[in-house]
């Protein structure tokens, strides 16, 4: 509880710092919206001549994209700076977290908020609403209840994966490119249903870097594409379980990393 209070306070301070750059904030928002519009436009152009991509019509693809984006938006709001962990380590700024009498993790978390996440969120919500209406979906109560769980699981999956990858920097000094690699898998999974890819890719994004649980498997369930006879149908409900396992793993890696940490002496 104490940790949560501290976190909220730190986040408040970071927000105030960010608010000093209002023009930057507006530019950031507009650009993220433009970027997503171009991405969706590309997907649209790819399928408009073909009607569907392996059985996924355009609105289903938008749904897939936006479901990923909604989970990601919370990640980018609160955890974007995991990417910069290596900078904290190299420049020695990480040491100050260890000197203060509070959890280093909470201090690191509270260090930044990335407003740009709001732009991701608006695009995602708009896209999901449009897809829902255009696909004439009628979710059952269970599906509605499951929806926020899926979104939060998505956030946790991405956060835990990035944190674990960022921790590589405790050993090697660098982790930025490894995070980029995880992100590249994310981008492919966000843009295209993984059933178009080869087997090894599907195995990787299901079992090793399980980002397909951010959008693909739950989307099968939410879009009614799940075949109850299929032996893998249960994967559609596994996102929270995957999220739980990953966060436990990430917590373990973080503690291991802290124990092994020796300052750069900066």
């Amino acid at each position: 509880m104490e940790a949560l209070r501290l976190y909220v306070r730190l986040i408040g301070l970071s927000m105030q710092a960010r608010l000093q750059y209002r023009a930057d904030f507006i530019m950031g928002m507009l650009n993220v919206i433009a970027l997503n519009a171009v991405n969706l436009g590309l997907i649209g152009i790819i399928v408009y001549r073909f009607v569907d991509l392996n059985g996924w019509v355009i609105w289903e693809l938008f749904f897939l994209y936006c479901l990923w984006l909604l989970g990601h938006s919370l990640y980018s709001l609160f955890f974007w700076h995991f990417w910069e962990l290596e900078e904290y380590l190299i420049q020695g700024t990480f040491d100050q977290f260890l000197l203060r009498p509070a959890s280093p993790f909470v201090q690191f978390l509270g260090r930044e908020v990335q407003y740009i996440g709001f732009a991701d969120m608006s695009v995602a919500i708009a896209g999901l609403v449009l897809s829902y209406t255009n696909l004439h979906l009628h979710w059952s109560v269970t599906q509605w209840l499951f929806f926020p769980v899926i979104v939060l699981s998505g956030t946790v999956i991405e956060t835990a994966l990035t944190l674990m990858t960022a921790c590589i920097a405790f050993w090697t000094g660098r982790s930025g490119m490894a995070i980029d690699l995880i992100m590249e898998f994310n981008v492919l999974v966000q843009h295209y249903p993984i059933d178009i890819f080869g087997l090894w890719f599907r195995v990787v994004v299901t079992g090793i870097i399980p980002v397909a649980f951010m959008n693909y498997y739950p989307a099968l369930m939410l879009l009614g594409k799940l075949d109850p006879e299929s032996p893998t149908a249960w994967l559609g409900f596994m996102s929270p379980v995957v999220a739980l396992i990953l966060s436990l793993l990430a917590a373990g890696v973080w503690h291991l990393a802290l124990r092994r940490y020796s300052s750069s002496g900066g």
Partner: protein
């Protein structure tokens, strides 16, 4: 010539220091090639006629789009923007070299390394695994090479213009995201212009961006040939000249306005 060589050496030293990063960059390119390969393959199986070209040509287009990213994607805008922010730009300006030419030489050096260390090895893997085609004949290969160099110059100058703006706007990080995606979209990096809806295609046809990816790759896979290829190269050439003039004027203007932060 000597100056280009010295920047190539500098870039090489840089990548030897960051070997792991370059290896990852290589893996990323392969992954992107793999992604686009499956997209076109699945779509082709669904509706073979809709591309207007063969599957091999389409896959080659997609893979080349990812490879060219490594070739033409020098980033003088980052360098300029960082130097302006840190104030170190004054040391660049003191060099006995025209700044525009200096940036070009740097980019050429980086590109040489990008090609030999990243693009060619990645294409080799793609050639073996994804059945990418070679150009149909030597002449096409030559025209492609010319078009590729013009494409590099085109994108370099677009980037240089963005970099010059950073002198005034200071932070170009956010604009860059939108800028990158527009260049890739209208440049036809992923989806070739002939698959665009008519209205968007009309816009993309007149803008300089198609000279970066679309024209070189189309020449490579043989959808732009003969007189049409000559016209496409002229199009690139005209835009390069226009952008060189704009770059020089803009940099002259930005230079006068240059405020070194904390200098």
């Amino acid at each position: 010539m000597k100056i280009f060589w010295s920047f190539t050496r500098q870039a090489f030293q840089f990548i030897s220091a960051y070997r792991f990063n370059f290896f990852m960059e290589f893996v990323l390119s392969i992954l992107r090639m793999y992604g686009i390969y499956w997209v076109w393959r699945v779509l082709y199986t669904q509706k073979p006629g809709a591309f207007g070209v063969s599957l091999d040509q389409m896959v080659t287009y997609g893979v080349m789009g990812m490879a060219l990213e490594l070739f033409i994607w020098s980033r003088p805008q980052w360098y300029i923007s960082n130097q302006v922010k840190s104030g170190a730009i004054d040391t660049d300006l003191m060099k006995p070299l025209d700044f525009h030419f200096y940036m070009l030489a740097r980019s050429v050096g980086e590109t040489m390394i990008g090609v030999s260390v990243l693009a060619i090895p990645a294409l080799l893997v793609a050639y073996l695994v994804l059945h990418v085609q070679l150009p149909p004949d030597v002449l096409t290969g030559l025209i492609f090479a010319i078009s590729l160099i013009l494409g590099f110059l085109l994108l370099f100058h677009l980037n240089f213009i963005l970099g010059s703006l950073s002198v005034v706007a200071l932070d170009i990080r956010h604009i860059s995201w939108a800028y990158f995606s527009v260049v890739r979209f209208l440049g036809g990096q992923i989806v070739p212009l002939w698959l665009f809806p008519t209205a968007i295609r009309a816009i993309a046809e007149v803008l300089p961006f198609k000279g970066t990816y679309f024209i070189p790759i189309s020449i490579y896979i043989g959808t732009i040939t003969g007189a049409e290829a000559i016209r496409a190269i002229e199009f690139q050439l005209v835009w390069v000249v226009v952008l060189v003039i704009v770059s020089r004027m803009l940099w002259g203007w930005a230079y006068r306005r240059l405020v070194v932060q904390g200098g």
